[in-house]
Symmetry: C2
Subunit: 388 residues, 2 copies
């Protein structure tokens, strides 16, 4: 397998854009990535387009990526549409990586794009349930409920409090206030978070990722080719792991942790450990779940996530910064766009281009995404490790 | 890149199954492929699931493959949902091939599954438009219209007649009558075809692929590994090409033929030419388009497709059999399942297991699929070449 680098990244801001189509969102992200890469669109040999809910939101299924790319002026290349709920973007990224790593293509485009806002927001909320097994919807089991239950259990085993959860939002909303692509840029105090409306105990409104529209893209190529286009530091993909939950395993008395297993294989492949990670973007669809991810990703031993937070080690000024972008509650969460936005943030961090939210000289970064639920396990977990 | 073989294939019959879900269809095809492969489901390391319209038909998007595979008893592995209209199945196949060829995984599952029939068939027909750019629908431009226009042009340039078109159906319906998985198993005479209802000049009802539900699956692995499971002749994938149309090219004065270009790259990669192909499954969503495919795939020079048909060379008894399965009008056309059913047919042919429709000792087989339209070009064209 060949070494693959992220040559360039681009985004469309996350937010509510009722007047914009999937094409509008995708086009901006794609061209920002092309400009950042300094190559010609003709150099792109293959494209992976991740979108999760466009069929139900827009009525367009089947050839979403072709329609989006045609609108962006790209055609005549292999286009693969992929879908893995909230991990659709990173699944697209993994596909692009595999094309280049395997030697089939030299330059690949990965796009994550999602349009959720409809004039009637209740329609959007109903559609969001299609990112998990829709039969769960019949039990009123929305993904917020899943997170609420997981966090209540975590409170019991770890002894942490709702104030600890609120302090995650405090940290991330501060980061988001410096992110020009973020949907929510207002810094929030822990008190403000706990004062916001209760959604599902222990989750308050400001802990939850908002509905959003947005897109992000990356261009991947071989290390050798990258040097033709740029003198900037190269960001190399040192691992790219994907796994689905172990649903319905009759021997599953002690359920496996799918995210932890995905991280384990990513670390093994990359030849680095959690102690080597300087900056990470994790999938905190509900911000407090970031604490669970500290433990699942090995950033600290089990039960010690709050200590990591207390010591400020996961802040921008810490030694293992988590969610400098603002995370999903801060940056926003247009499902398939999220993973690619996480990649963009880590690339900017590793290149030292993250502006006010830049962490100190990071060398290794991690992206973790989890998409959808089947039964009570993650339907698609991805962990990507990047190195400058 | 490593040599990859198709270890086993399986299908669920194509037809109208109002009482069956995507899971029901997928489960049967997957387990038939597992049994044909003689491995344990635990040996499967990665899965690609192609489905095109399940979001709009069933309400389930995002994690369709995970829901289908969980139901089939498979979990804990990477699952990638792909979508490319009628080429969704072969796009899944290409993904599975790339995983094994690149060395990332040793055993991969590819599934194509589609449920189109709803109690109200007019709903299904409306949904089918989402397999092409839905903005075309506003012009009343359904894919049948595209084929009708292409075929009228072909009649003008080649001088062929509607009777020639009807004779393609005569040939293929005879083949389908011997295919236990086919949706339409009644042999039709050319006269019966021309006597059926006119849909869009020059297309009559029996020339058109029917609406359908169905599924097909294949298990791919390395050549070395295959020998552990089977003593049967191995079917090796010698190329797997994918391309999208060249939409909106300002220099596109003489439009390129996307299917011909995809075939060209497949032949180059495989190191074989059209003269080496013994059996082919081609994407005749409207049966007469098979004649155009003869020329696009290089089976005969331009304008000589009817002669190839006249000489009986594309019959089961011919030297370059086309659509022994019955083709899309005969076997049926549940969008994403079609490409994988084509693969299954070619594998059975190469192994000598095709029963009454077995061709004489074929060594090299080809699968061609085209999926959806953007403007007036194919959104996703695939060509796969298999060798015993």
């Amino acid at each position: 397998m060949r070494n693959v680098v992220v040559l360039g990244v681009g985004m469309h801001s996350f937010g509510k854009f009722l007047d914009k189509s999937l094409m509008d969102l995708g086009r901006t992200a794609i061209w920002n990535a092309i400009e950042d890469s300094r190559l010609s669109p003709k150099d792109i040999e293959v494209a992976y387009v991740g979108n999760s809910l466009g069929g139900l939101v827009t009525g367009q299924e089947g050839v979403r990526g072709q329609v989006i790319l045609r609108d962006a002026g790209l055609s005549g290349l292999p286009i693969i549409n992929v879908e893995n709920a909230c991990a659709s973007g990173t699944t697209a990224f993994r596909g692009a990586w595999l094309e280049v790593a395997s030697g089939v293509h030299d330059v690949a485009l990965a796009v994550g794009v999602e349009k959720l806002f409809l004039p009637d927001t209740s329609e959007s909320i109903k559609i969001l349930a299609a990112d998990s097994d829709i039969r769960l919807r019949d039990f009123g089991f929305q993904f917020t409920a899943h997170y609420a239950m997981k966090l209540r259990k975590y409170m019991q085993t770890s002894g942490c409090t709702k104030m600890d959860f609120a302090r995650v939002v405090e940290k991330n909303s501060f980061n988001a206030s410096m992110n020009p692509y973020a949907q929510n840029r207002k810094p929030l105090s822990a008190e403000q978070v706990l004062g916001s409306r209760l959604i599902a105990e222990p989750l308050h409104l400001y802990m939850c990722a908002p509905m959003g529209d947005g897109a992000a893209a990356a261009i991947l190529c071989t290390e050798a080719m990258a040097r033709k286009f740029t003198n900037r530091p190269l960001v190399t993909i040192i691992s790219c792991s994907l796994r689905s939950g172990k649903f319905q395993d009759p021997n599953n008395s002690e359920p496996e942790n799918t995210i932890a297993l995905t991280a384990k294989s990513a670390y093994e492949l990359a030849g680095v450990g959690p102690e080597d990670i300087d900056v990470a973007e994790v999938h905190d669809a509900m911000a407090p779940i970031e604490l669970c991810h500290y433990e699942e990703l090995g950033f600290c031993p089990e039960g010690e996530a709050v200590r990591l937070l207390d010591e400020g080690r996961t802040r921008i000024t810490g030694n293992i910064t988590v969610n400098p972008s603002g995370g999903l509650a801060g940056r926003g969460h247009p499902v398939a766009a999220t993973g690619m936005a996480q990649v963009a943030e880590v690339v900017w961090q590793l290149r030292g281009e993250a502006g006010g939210r830049q962490t100190f000289d990071p060398k290794v970064g991690l992206v973790q995404t989890s998409g959808g639920f089947v039964e009570d396990d993650t339907a698609a977990a991805t962990v990507i490790i990047l190195k400058r």
